[in-house]
Symmetry: C2
Subunit: 283 residues, 2 copies
């Protein structure tokens, strides 16, 4: 996410110089060799020094410690953003870590996933035509929210603003729960004595249904735990829906089962991936 | 499925003339206008009359009545096949319906799905590079099993033979359960008061995960009920897998949760859609 942001910012002509830092020296080295960053910093704190825009791209559980490591060099006119898939916990971490620098923080979640994490998959066009959600706090400086909006718009994003809680409820439903179900489903099949034989017979429906089960374990472990409350609420709703269908199957209630399938089939048939038309011009 | 088979057989030069019958006159008319069939029969029985190969492409629950309607004109050297996604119930239906014509029946399941059913989506290349499962009975004439193998091979399929029960166990796991989960999941999200807002935020992971939830209600109602026993066995295994992950999330057991996600992620990362190399030459 961070690498793609750097490339996209360069492509849009919005930055002169990108300074990067990663805990892993090989990541930093790859980023420099690929031209994703211009300069490798020796610490997160040094990477922040003198920057106008700071983008934090770390697993959500590492947000607080990273913010603590950099807060001393965050000035009040720096635009500080993250890209975390959960927002309630990130906002809480920011409140604890940032103190008087809190108003510089504009929590952001670009809806632009890849199963393949890592700077080697950085893509200057990753954000083109995607949505990004900003969840500013009451303390956030309005001009920084506007600047964040302008930056993401210039990268081709449609920018939406939501309260952190609403964000987390929505993404528990449309992203975190499907990941959990895909992981649980894949393991349920693969662990059976005949699992390997079964998997060799799976077709394109299985392929698409389980694509997100290949997603990064560390990132998703953190997301599922960070958004525990909303996720378990959604899991409960899913279980009720599954129970109803299972009961219809058990009883041989063909018309009841068909009605449920038809509702899903028609709803999904009408659903479309939202793709904003041409991105609005940035100021 | 039937229309694609007709087009593929014509393309491979394996048939001189295709006679079609559908309960719906508009389907028959479309099939003739598209050149999928050469002749529209006035009944299923008349469609079978004089044919060398008969392919039944009906929802699995309609197998028995359709076989009963045609059995009087099935000669002992006719190759009779279906394309149903379940095999145990189809075989039972054939035993009840076919009597002394049972040896002509070679139950078949081509693994080539489309969400869009109907003759207007018929595709001469649908079966190219796909698998087809044959589940012959002890009574099935071996030369007809060989002929079925040759026909599907000539259409570009890899042909596998399995017992009906093993087929149904495998497809409950890799096809029927994912459909059930996708339907249940889509409804769980869409029925919530904020469901519409949630769906507008869903991204490409959601798109792929729910693609099969758009599948045909009638066909899938029949499949889920026809394979009830195996499906409910698989649902139980899925529930155990989901329970374990939910408990880890509930307890904040990050390492336990990560281990489960990692198992799925690595397994899915290694999995590949099986695509046979060049199809074997037919005799």
């Amino acid at each position: 996410m961070g690498g793609s942001f750097a490339l996209a910012m360069k492509k849009a002509g919005l930055v002169r110089r990108v300074v990067g830092y990663s805990k892993s020296p090989s990541t930093t080295e790859t980023a420099r060799r690929m031209g994703v960053i211009d300069l490798a910093a020796e610490s997160a704190l040094l990477a922040v020094s003198g920057s106008d825009i700071v983008l934090l791209a770390v697993p959500v559980a590492a947000t607080e410690s990273t913010l603590k490591a950099i807060r001393h060099l965050i000035h009040s006119d720096v635009l500080l953003m993250d890209v975390g898939s959960t927002k309630g916990d990130v906002v809480d971490a920011a409140r604890r870590a940032l103190g008087k620098q809190l108003p510089t923080f504009v929590p952001a979640h670009p809806i632009a996933g890849k199963e393949s994490a890592g700077v080697q998959h950085a893509d200057a066009n990753l954000y083109q035509g995607r949505q990004v959600i900003l969840t500013p706090l009451e303390q956030t400086r309005p001009e920084l929210v506007q600047r964040a909006t302008d930056v993401w718009s210039a990268l081709g994003c449609q920018v939406l603003k939501m309260a952190p809680h609403n964000h987390d409820a929505a993404f528990a439903a449309v992203s975190h729960l499907p990941h959990l179900l895909a992981y649980a489903y894949f393991n349920a099949v693969a662990r059976q004595p005949s699992g390997r034989d079964f998997l060799s017979l799976a077709g394109s429906g299985f392929r698409d249904f389980t694509r997100i089960a290949a997603s990064d374990p560390t990132i998703w472990r953190d997301i599922l735990i960070a958004n525990k409350q909303e996720l378990l609420t959604q899991t409960q709703k899913f279980r009720e829906s599954l129970d109803a269908m299972e009961q219809a199957i058990q009883k041989g209630d063909t018309s009841g089962l068909e009605a449920m399938i038809r509702q899903a089939s028609e709803g999904r048939g009408q659903w479309q991936l939202s793709s904003p038309p041409t991105p609005p011009k940035s100021k």
